[in-house]
Symmetry: C2
Subunit: 149 residues, 2 copies
């Protein structure tokens, strides 16, 4: 078996294990919040990409402006995000996470991270060094991939 095929296969095997676990945990968590996936992904977006206007939201989420407006309305009602007028363009709104929204996102991330932590406990220190090195390589490679797009 060639080197590159071997890498590919290892990555695929790991992906299968990983996806299965994390997807299940994730959708379970989102369910407990009472929010829809869409709603939660708006929160995640605000967390990772920072505050933005309505238009960014509907473009990135591939939904209509009206849909985005209604989505946001609910999140504002639930006190999870804040919607303020943009001082530079009074038509536009600035959306940002409220304290409560930020906490919820943090909690979700924590949730996702939990089994990573459990996993770490099943790895010996010697193996750990190897794993750390390998993951750094992977994260770097993933970054290079993004640049190329």
């Amino acid at each position: 078996m060639s080197k590159s095929v071997q890498i590919t296969q290892s990555l695929r095997a790991w992906m299968d294990v990983f996806m299965h676990r994390s997807m299940r945990g994730w959708s379970r968590f989102v369910k407990t919040t009472g929010l829809s996936m869409q709603q939660f992904s708006v929160l995640m977006q605000l967390h990772y990409k920072g505050p933005c206007g309505m238009s960014e939201l509907n473009e990135r989420g591939h939904i209509s402006a009206a849909a985005a407006s209604q989505l946001v309305e609910k999140l504002v009602q639930s006190d999870l995000i804040e919607r303020e007028e943009d001082p530079n363009d009074r038509r536009a709104k600035q959306l940002s996470l409220s304290r409560k929204g930020a906490q919820l996102v943090e909690q979700g991330i924590e949730e996702r991270h939990r089994w990573m932590d459990d996993l770490a406990l099943n790895i010996s220190p010697e193996e750990g060094a190897l794993v750390v090195e390998a993951l750094e390589i992977l994260v770097r490679a993933a970054g290079q991939l993004d640049e190329k797009i």
Copy 2:
């Protein structure tokens, strides 16, 4: 920084990169199929766990029997799964992927694997050996985690 904290942090960093990429790709793919997430997850379940009856479906999916029945009905209509009477218990049904359903699942998995393959291209052979070794450790550790539950 202690060894175990370092492992944890590397795992978390990788998870963030990985989840972001794969979730986005996945939901995009599912959208192209025209199926809902629920519907697709039934297909995935049949793929990974093999044929099963209706009751397994609603228990595993945390939905009512009625919901499962309707879900399955649509998938049968779309010719993605097959529903046959269980010869041993004529009340029960055996659900299995149709040829078309299996192809769709394969396609979805292929889709998920694609960027793993691109990633492999950004890794040198020397790094690759390290990565392969590390991923094997991780898959094994994940397996041990499952056993403990």
